[in-house]
């Protein structure tokens, strides 16, 4: 059984006891425990079920590489699935539950999959769910969805808050082990700014556990001294609980800080996502031990040798009473020695190497541990926990020669450098045969925009194996990065460490090497996704040669641990099956994040009301207080209509239209773009931008204009006012303001850089209110201050003055067909002006109207709307706007494009009005059908609706649409099939339905 040892545990505080629960069971741990060590201390070795076969799963590792111990953590608004017990710090009151089982962890019905495993081979999904087609939707998908996924999704809104943090640094070091710390020291000595991030709560990595001695001191001591001295340096920043998540182009690095995971409810943000710009990056990310592939290596109790050692040394927890060590290298002997020294039983060390003679093995032998050289594991015995191990000759086929009772098996297949962050930005790897691992290729490092190296690997992550190699390597990396970041080289030597002699390891990918299919079918590569040696071999037999394809076919390395344990073993097995060398097969692609990061951290502050900026006009609060039904327009919120008590939105729209046509309406038009264009060449510039002439517009007058892209397509429209001799004010659509301003600057800066023109986007400087309707003039005259009579301010002119004591610029323009004034006042007095109009307008029946009434009134007048009548494929000529295209000008943007053959094609669909025969409203976007069918057997189409409304003024459905030969077919009736079946018949008419001669707007 696993238990807390009476002494030891360098990271725990035995005096501070913490209560927590697992599946409702009350348990107790110590401050400094991880959830994993605390569970183990309570003899909780069964922690979950595997994904496919629902096999019992216990701890394998002690850190970020753990594939099995994934738990549902917390409750309610703090529940989160798939939390790794090994990287979860214990806190008082923690609750967690195991996942992927039913009805209970101990008895799981899904485990029948285990017995059916020969019917669930590699590529099972691909082979099984191909046919019949209908079965996918109704049978397979629902079943797979129910059984897929490990954890449950949270059901409540996240109670925590999250944030981002941006910083710039010269040298960023990822990993706070001895390599990271020494690299920091070396880089800092060059005088550059340095930041070190460490994913755990502790500095020093695993050197203290492995018994390293540096400069004559135990590693723990050296780490403490170094952290302290680094902490005193002005140019060094250190941050624990912060994982380097991804390395991107231009030295951009994401790091994930778990600020308050271990102190919930203390008012701190839970996670902080660091967005770091580093000139140089050092990955000192250590190495991960590899499992060995032997039959039954997934039974709870089979663990990595280094993890067994970690639990004993770091947390004073013994994973079991009797541990058999299985290895192919010297390092695992450290585990045997640690266990023995802790008073635990190590009945045997099974070493695959035929001869074992290194210093560590000798030390183990001296402690009385039996070392079985040339041996392997034939089979692990046990169900939910290990009971014994059968050993055999590694060179043979698995005939057992002995059986050793034990409750833990500590395995070591060698060490793989963590090359993930090195690889994210294109760093290449080389195969190091001596250690049977991939390590960073220093000749093919990630490079920046100028071809300069910007990532260096250091220490174990770079393939350095002994403490002195690690320190020397890290020191060199720190110096190189410091120098590359602009620091001054120093000559201080790397610290010395006690020598750690070791004998070569022996690559072992299958144990025993001649194992038959029965054994290979019990050798797990990927614990979480249930991928076995036999699955990869089957994939190879079925023709999968690429490691990337094999990964997807077998799901090897596709679980939440992303193959940290299974990757190398899997591709070695694939290489063996293909008869290739491992470097020829290569690795799959390493992608960020290194370990999963929370969605909350990615979102940062962008949730709820901060999810997206909502632009508000100066009158927004009034609209809100008066029940506006909102419509998003770009990032703006505009009132769609102002429904009154008991009124539907549709009723409100109808009322607003009729009232505006009969009395007077107010529209908040503040969102319209307003761009000032000024300079000696401004007229010439606007003549190029608009299709019509703007240079000839007299001061004091307004002109409607169209803007096209250089491909001739209609891009924006609006009214231009000539302010003075060299100043024009261009109104754009609401959504077009920023885009058109950028368009202007683009042409000015890139093409006509020698023209003397300046532009300024002054959209938000003004609250602009349209006062519309037959009583508009009466209302404005009542509040007083300017002569707005027919003679003083005729249609399509503007005037400046004061209205109701507020500075105002009044444009006599109309988008509704009514007598209309658009009044621009300073934004900070916009609300005041609006309220004054509302109060003064009471006797005239003033009402606010929203965007839908605006749309209807413009449609009744046959005015086009950018985005309705245009969609990026429509030219002004399609819309009958030839009158707004100057024939006199040599050039304007879009002119030549509009002369292309397809643009002048008489078969282009053209704008017409549509009047339904039965008065109903044609559905938005409906197509008109013609005779015959196209090549796909579909009805031919001859036109489509672009705007369609119920017109309250006319009491019937009106529409505009683009129709083949439309204007020539006036009077014809065409047919629009509807989605519900049947069709609506409409007559082609003039698009101007209301006041064709424009008498109303010109009074």
């Amino acid at each position: 059984m696993s238990t807390r040892l009476p002494t030891g545990g360098r990271l725990i505080d035995r005096d501070t006891q913490l209560d927590f629960t697992f599946n409702g069971k009350r348990l107790r741990g110590c401050a400094g425990d991880t959830l994993a060590s605390a569970l183990l201390a309570n003899d909780q070795t069964l922690l979950g079920r595997s994904f496919k076969y629902h096999r019992p799963r216990g701890l394998v590792a002690s850190g970020a590489e753990e594939p099995n111990a994934l738990l549902g953590l917390g409750k309610g608004s703090r529940f989160e699935p798939n939390q790794r017990a090994t990287t979860t710090e214990l806190f008082d009151g923690l609750t967690c539950e195991s996942q992927n089982h039913w009805p209970s962890l101990e008895f799981d019905i899904g485990a029948v999959n285990n017995y059916a495993s020969r019917f669930l081979p590699a590529g099972f999904y691909y082979k099984t769910f191909m046919a019949p087609r209908a079965a996918w939707k109704h049978v397979f998908e629902p079943i797979i969805r129910r059984s897929a996924g490990l954890g449950k999704a949270p059901t409540e809104r996240d109670a925590d808050r999250y944030e981002h943090f941006h910083t710039h640094v010269d040298v960023l070091i990822i990993g706070g082990g001895i390599a990271g710390l020494q690299a920091a020291r070396a880089a800092a000595a060059t005088g550059v700014s340095v930041m070190v991030v460490e994913q755990t709560a502790h500095w020093g990595g695993r050197a203290p556990v492995d018994g390293a001695e540096i400069e004559g001191q135990l590693a723990d001591y050296w780490v403490r001294e170094t952290v302290e001295s680094l902490g005193k340096l002005e140019n060094v920043r250190m941050r624990a609980r912060t994982m380097g998540s991804g390395v991107y182009d231009h030295g951009y690095v994401l790091a994930y800080e778990r600020v308050a995971d271990h102190t919930p409810d203390d008012d701190r943000p839970r996670h902080r996502l660091w967005k770091i710009r580093a000139k140089q990056v050092i990955t000192a990310t250590g190495a991960i031990e590899r499992p060995l592939s032997f039959a039954g290596n997934d039974i709870p109790g089979v663990m990595l040798a280094s993890a067994v050692r970690d639990y004993v040394v770091n947390w004073g927890v013994s994973p079991g009473d009797r541990t058999v060590v299985v290895t192919n290298n010297d390092d695992a002997y450290r585990t045997a020695i640690v266990l023995k020294e802790a008073g635990l039983d190590v009945p045997a060390i099974i070493d695959a190497r035929p001869e074992v003679s290194g210093a560590l093995p000798e030390q183990a032998r001296a402690l009385g541990i039996a070392v079985h050289a040339g041996r392997g594991v034939a089979k692990v015995l046990g169900g939910k926990s290990v009971t014994a191990v059968k050993i055999c000759a590694q060179a043979g086929e698995g005939a057992p020669v002995d059986e050793i009772p034990c409750d833990v098996i500590a395995m070591s297949g060698g060490w793989s450098p963590v090359v993930h962050l090195w690889s994210h930005c294109g760093g290449k790897l080389i195969w190091e045969a001596g250690n049977a691992h991939f390590r960073p290729n220093p000749d093919k490092a990630p490079t920046g925009h100028a071809g300069e190296v910007f990532v260096h690997a250091a220490g174990n992550a770079n393939g350095a194996m002994t403490t002195s190699e690690v320190l020397a390597d890290a020191d060199a990396a720190g110096k190189a990065a410091g120098k590359a970041a602009g620091g001054k080289a120093t000559r201080k030597a790397a610290p010395k460490a006690k020598e750690e002699p070791s004998e070569p390891m022996l690559p072992v990918w299958v144990m025993p090497q001649g194992a038959d299919i029965k054994l290979r079918g019990k050798m797990w590569l990927d614990y979480q996704n249930d991928v076995k040696v036999s699955d990869v071999q089957l994939a190879a037999r079925e023709g999968y040669e690429s490691v990337e394809h094999t990964k997807r076919y077998t799901t090897l390395g596709m679980a939440t641990d992303q193959g940290k344990l299974s990757n190398i073993n899997g591709l070695a097995v694939l290489a063996g099956s293909l008869g290739d060398d491992i470097p020829q097969v290569g690795t799959t692609t390493f992608r960020p994040p290194y370990t999963p990061i929370s969605m909350g951290a990615i979102a940062g502050e962008a949730r709820a009301e901060l999810f997206q900026p909502v632009r508000q006009t100066p009158i927004h609060t009034w609209h809100e207080a008066h029940g506006a039904d909102w419509e998003p327009v770009g990032h703006w919120r505009r009132p769609y209509a102002f429904p009154r008590d008991g009124e539907t939105v549709h009723d409100a729209v109808k009322r607003e239209v009729l009232n505006t046509r009969e009395n007077v309406g107010l529209l908040d038009a503040s969102t319209l773009g307003k761009i000032l264009v000024k300079g000696p060449d401004a007229g010439r510039f606007l003549d190029m931008l608009y299709t019509n002439m703007m240079s000839t517009l007299p001061v004091g007058k307004c002109r409607y204009g169209l803007m096209c892209s250089e491909n001739g397509f209609l891009s924006d429209d609006g009214v231009v006012a000539r302010i003075d001799e060299d100043t024009w004010l261009c109104h754009t659509t609401t959504g077009g303001a920023d885009r058109i301003h950028a368009h202007m600057e683009d042409w000015l800066q890139c093409e006509w850089w020698d023209w003397e023109v300046y532009t300024a986007n002054i959209t938000e400087q003004y609250a602009q209110i349209a006062v519309v309707g037959p009583k508009a003039r009466m209302l404005l005259e009542k509040i007083g201050g300017m002569d707005l009579g027919k003679e003083a301010l005729p249609f399509m002119q503007w005037a400046e003055g004061e209205l109701a004591g507020i500075p105002a610029r009044v444009f006599r323009i109309s988008f509704s067909g009514e007598l209309s004034y658009e009044v621009a006042v300073p934004a900070s007095r916009g609300l005041e002006f609006w309220i004054k109009l509302m109060m003064a307008g009471e006797e005239f029946g003033v009402m606010p109207y929203g965007t839908e009434a605006l749309h209807i009134m413009r449609a009744e007048k046959g005015f086009i709307m950018i985005g309705d009548e245009t969609d990026g494929t429509v030219i002004p000529q399609d819309l009958g706007l030839n009158w707004a295209i100057s024939k006199k000008k040599d050039d304007y943007l879009g002119k030549r494009a509009q002369e292309r053959s397809h643009m002048t094609d008489p078969d282009r669909w053209k704008l017409v009005g549509l009047e339904t025969l039965d008065g109903s409203v044609i559905p938005d976007g409906a197509y008109a059908v013609g005779e015959g069918e196209n090549a796909n057997g579909q009805r031919n189409t001859i036109g489509r609706v672009t705007s369609t409304y119920f017109s309250p003024t006319l009491g019937k459905g009106i529409a505009m649409g683009l129709v083949h030969n439309g204007p020539d077919r006036t009077g014809e009736v065409i047919e629009f099939p509807t989605l519900k079946g049947g069709s609506i018949r409409a007559r082609i008419v003039d698009p101007v339905f209301y006041d064709k001669d424009g008498e109303k707007q010109n009074v």
Binding site: E163, T167, K678, Y758, G805, P807, P826, I835
Partner: protein, 188 residues
């Protein structure tokens, strides 16, 4: 009601720094050839501060000149004087190609007061907010989360933020979120 009102009517929040709507501020966008003496004289004349070097913010109370780009300045004057100042500048630059526009109402200005202001801002802007990255008195045009903003520090414990008026509530929300007690980073 007959007074001009700022977008947030003086709202404020006390967290790890104090965030407040700084009220109405006269702002004039000036585009022109910044190398010309006439341009320099026009803006120093209305503000009484020295002409700024590239990327600098020379501000004295409600008057100042912010360098925005090689051909653009933001001129600060008391709100009530903005209209007059635009006319003064326009008159002074009659013979120079330029554009001067009153943008006082198009913007909102925030003040940030307190030790942690660099960190509060660093949560929202990708610009380098360290002492070396943005010294006191330097202007930075950048973004705060999803919207454009301009930032400068008057001292280590006092900063100004300018944003567009329509997103004043959003920016207030951002700064409030980032300044909540418990959000100290301890990095700069």
């Amino acid at each position: 009601m007959s007074e001009a009102v700022s977008a947030l009517s003086g709202a404020s929040y006390d967290g790890i720094v104090r965030v407040a709507d700084a009220g109405l501020q006269g702002m004039i966008q000036l585009r022109g050839n910044l190398g010309k003496a006439a341009v320099k004289n026009a803006v120093t004349g209305v503000t009484g501060v020295d002409f700024p070097a590239a990327r600098q913010a020379n501000v004295n109370g409600e008057r100042g000149i912010l360098w925005m780009s090689p051909d653009e300045l933001l001129v600060l004057v008391p709100y009530a004087e903005a209209t007059q100042a635009v006319e003064t500048i326009t008159m002074a630059l009659k013979k120079e190609h330029h554009l001067a526009a009153d943008v006082s109402d198009a913007r909102v200005m925030f003040s940030l007061e307190g030790e942690g202001l660099r960190e509060v801002l660093a949560k929202l802007t990708p610009a380098d907010m360290s002492r070396a990255g943005l010294p006191v008195g330097e202007m930075r045009r950048t973004r705060l989360a999803q919207v454009a903003a301009g930032v400068w520090l008057e001292s280590e414990t006092s900063a100004r933020v300018i944003a567009f008026r329509s997103v004043a509530h959003y920016v207030m929300g951002l700064l409030t979120h980032s300044a909540q007690p418990g959000s100290e980073v301890g990095h700069f």
